[in-house]
C-alpha cells in the first residue's frame, strides 16, 4: 500500500508548554498505523530544513492522523508555523510498533515528556488493562491526562518540581509500584521517552528481570532503512531504529 502521501494540515495548535497537536487529513487510502509506529513529516517547503522529521503516531481517526510534538530545534519550529490548509508530504506508517501483551501479562506503560504520544496510542488500544506511569518536568508539560485515565487501569504521575503527582522522576513512581508487587513474572514494560529515562527503566527491568520493550530514538534521514544513519547498538550488532525498531526488547539494547 502507498506510504508516500500528501496530507493537508487540519489543525496545528499549542496545547501547553512546548507541546503541540498536529492533525493531518489524508485523501489517499493508506495503511492503518499501529501504536509505536511513526511517520516522516515534511516541515518546510524549501530545502532548509531538507530532511523530514520523525513523529510517532498519536491517534488516527478515519482519515485524520494526529501527532503530538515538542519544539526542539529548527525543524519543529518551522512545523509549528505551518498553517491549516497547507499541504505537506509524509511517509508512513513506518517501523515495527509495540508487540501487544499476552492475555496473562500485566502491561506497565511508561512515558516521559512527549514520549506520551506513542504510549497514549498503546493505552487506548489496551483499554483498561495497563498501568500508566507518566513523568514530566512540571504540571504544564503533561498532556492528555484525562484521556489516559479513561484508558488506563491506573495513572501514576510524577513531576520534577512536584507541581503534580509525586515529586521526582518516573523511575521513582515505577519503583514504588514494583515494591508493592509480589512477582515480577507477569509484568511487561513499555517505555518511550528521553534517553536517560530509557536507560534507567532498562536498568530496573534488567535488575528485576521484567520483560519489556523500549521505543528508541535516533537522528533519521530516510526513515525507511536505506541510509543506515539511525542505528542502535544491540546484542546482535547495530540495528536500524527506523526499520528493525523503533521498538526493541528492553534486554536487547547495549547502552553506551
Amino acid at each position: 500500500m502507498n506510504k508516500y502521501l500528501t496530507a493537508t494540515i487540519k489543525e496545528n495548535s499549542r496545547i501547553n508548554g512546548s507541546n503541540n497537536l498536529l492533525a493531518l487529513y489524508i485523501k489517499d487510502t493508506s495503511e492503518n498505523p499501529v501504536p509505536g509506529q511513526f511517520y516522516m513529516l515534511e516541515v518546510s517547503s524549501s530545502y532548509d530544513p531538507l530532511l523530514k522529521r520523525p513523529l510517532s503516531i498519536f491517534r488516527k481517526i478515519n482519515n485524520e492522523l494526529q501527532f503530538l510534538y515538542r519544539i526542539k530545534g529548527k525543524g519543529t519550529e518551522k512545523l509549528q508555523k505551518m498553517r491549516e490548509g497547507t499541504n505537506i508530504s509524509i511517509i508512513g506508517p513506518l517501523g515495527n510498533g509495540y508487540p501487544l501483551p499476552s492475555e496473562k501479562q500485566i502491561p506497565l506503560l511508561i512515558a516521559g515528556g512527549v514520549g506520551v504520544a506513542s504510549i497514549f496510542s498503546l493505552a487506548e488500544k489496551l483499554d483498561k488493562k495497563a498501568y500508566v506511569f507518566y513523568g514530566g518536568r512540571n504540571k504544564d508539560e503533561l498532556v492528555m491526562k484525562d484521556e489516559i485515565r479513561n484508558f488506563a487501569k491506573e495513572l501514576f504521575i510524577s513531576t520534577d518540581d512536584g507541581s503534580e503527582g509525586e515529586k521526582g522522576t518516573v523511575i521513582d513512581i515505577l519503583n514504588k509500584f514494583l515494591d508493592s508487587q509480589g512477582s515480577m513474572e507477569s509484568l511487561v514494560i513499555y517505555v518511550c521517552g528521553p534517553l536517560p529515562m530509557l536507560r534507567a527503566v532498562a536498568e530496573v527491568a534488567v535488575n528485576k528481570k521484567i520483560a519489556g520493550y523500549i521505543s528508541a530514538e535516533e537522528n533519521m534521514a530516510c526513515g525507511i532503512g536505506a541510509c543506515l544513519g539511525c542505528v542502535i547498538k544491540t546484542k546482535h550488532n547495530y540495528k536500524r531504529v527506523c526499520r528493525e525498531g523503533p521498538v526493541f526488547s528492553i534486554h536487547e539494547i547495549i547502552w553506551e
Binding site: 508516500y4 530532511l51 511517509i91 525507511i224 541510509c227 543506515l228
Partner: protein, 314 residues
C-alpha cells in the same frame, strides 16, 4: 544544441545512454549509500524504470560502521559519517542480488577496500556474480598500508589501485572521484589513464558541525560527508571541468533534487546522473526526475538525449 521547435510526438524521445559499455534506458541512477540495496525503495517506486541501481558500498568482509550520531542536518544538506557499514560482498551476492535480478534494470555495485588487495578481492567476487553489470570503485576511503592516505587524493596511489582493479574485471569499471582534492582534473585524468571506463563524481565533501553549548562535535566521528542541494554548484563545476579534461563518460552526482538539477549536470557534460540525498526527502525523486527530463526534451524539441549532453555554451 539543436533546436527543432515543438515536437508533438513524445515516443520519439530517446533517453538511452551508454556509460562505458553499459547501456541504460535512461540516464538516471541511484547514488551509492542512499538507496540501500534496492529493496528498501521497491515499495515506493518501480525499480524497472531506473537507468541503473547503484547499491550501498561493499567491502570484502562486512563492516560495522561508526557509532551514532551518524547524521546531522546542515543548511540545505546533511553530514553523514556512516562509516561504510555494509554486509560484505558474499552476503550481498547471496542475500541481495537474487531480488535485484528480478528487475530489468542494470545493477552497479559500489565497492571499496583499505588496501589494493581488498579492492581486488571485492572486484573479483562481484565480477563473477550473476546480475552485476558494472563496478563503481569508491576511492574515498583511506589506504591503511600507505599510512592512511586517501586513495582518491594521491594521484600515484589512486593510479596504482585503479590499474590493479582494471586487471581483475571485464565489467565496465567506474571510478568515483572525491571532491576533496585541489585539482579534480588531475584525478579524472589518472582514472582515465589507469583504465577506468567511466568516472562518477562527486562523492561527499568533508564537513563538520558543532554543538555550541557543549562545545563538542555533533557527529561521533567528528567529521562527516556533506551531501544534498548545498553541494550542487560545486559538483556541477567539477563535472564541467572534468568533461573538458577526459574523454570517458561522466556520471554527475551531487544535490540533484529535480529534473532541472539533473539537466544542469547533463548540459555540463555528464552522460548520466545519480540521485542521492533526494531519495531520503522524496522516495519518488528518481521517477519524477526521469519524467521531468523527458518532458523537458519534448518541450525543447530534442529527440535524443545525447544531443543535450555537454551542450553548454560558454
Amino acid at each position: 544544441m539543436k533546436l527543432f521547435g515543438n515536437n508533438k510526438n513524445s515516443s520519439t524521445v530517446d533517453l538511452s545512454v551508454n556509460i562505458g559499455g553499459l547501456k541504460l534506458k535512461n540516464p538516471v541512477m541511484t547514488a551509492s549509500g542512499t538507496f540501500g540495496y534496492g529493496a528498501e525503495y521497491s515499495e515506493f517506486i518501480d525499480l524497472n524504470r531506473l537507468g541503473a541501481i547503484i547499491v550501498k558500498g561493499l567491502s570484502y568482509t562486512p563492516r560495522e560502521g561508526n557509532p551514532v550520531p551518524r547524521i546531522v542536518e546542515t543548511p540545505a544538506g546533511m553530514l553523514n559519517a556512516i562509516g561504510l557499514q555494509n554486509i560484505g560482498t558474499e552476503a550481498f551476492i547471496k542475500e541481495k542480488l537474487p531480488f535485484l535480478r528480478k528487475f530489468k534494470t542494470p545493477v552497479i555495485t559500489n565497492f571499496f577496500g583499505d588496501s589494493i588487495d581488498e579492492f581486488k578481492k571485492s572486484a573479483e567476487a562481484l565480477s563473477s556474480a550473476d546480475g552485476v553489470h558494472a563496478l563503481e570503485m569508491n576511492i574515498s576511503c583511506p589506504n591503511k598500508k600507505a599510512g592512511w592516505i586517501i586513495f582518491g587524493t594521491d594521484p600515484k596511489v589512486m593510479g596504482k589501485a585503479v590499474s590493479s582493479v582494471r586487471k581483475t574485471t571485464k565489467l565496465p569499471l567506474i571510478v568515483k572521484l572525491t571532491p576533496n582534492v585541489t585539482d579534480i582534473c588531475v584525478m579524472a585524468k589518472v582514472a582515465e589513464d589507469s583504465g577506468a571506463d567511466a568516472i562518477s563524481m562527486i562523492n561527499t565533501i568533508t564537513g563538520m558541525a558543532i554543538d555550541i553549548r557543549r562545545r563538542t562535535p555533533i557527529l561521533a566521528n567528528v567529521v562527516g560527508g556533506l551531501s544534498g542541494p548545498a553541494i550542487r554548484p560545486v559538483a556541477v563545476r567539477m563535472v564541467w571541468q572534468a568533461h573538458k579534461a577526459v574523454k570517458i563518460p561522466i556520471i554527475g552526482i551531487g544535490g540533484i533534487m529535480t529534473a532541472q538539477d539533473a539537466l544542469e549536470f547533463l548540459i555540463a557534460g555528464a552522460r548520466g546522473v545519480a540521485v542521492g540525498t533526494a531519495n531520503f526527502v522524496n522516495p519518488h525523486a528518481t521517477i519524477e526526475i526521469i519524467d521531468g527530463i523527458e518532458k523537458f526534451l519534448i518541450e525543447e524539441g530534442v529527440h535524443n538525449i545525447n544531443d543535450i549532453i555537454g551542450s553548454l555554451w560558454t
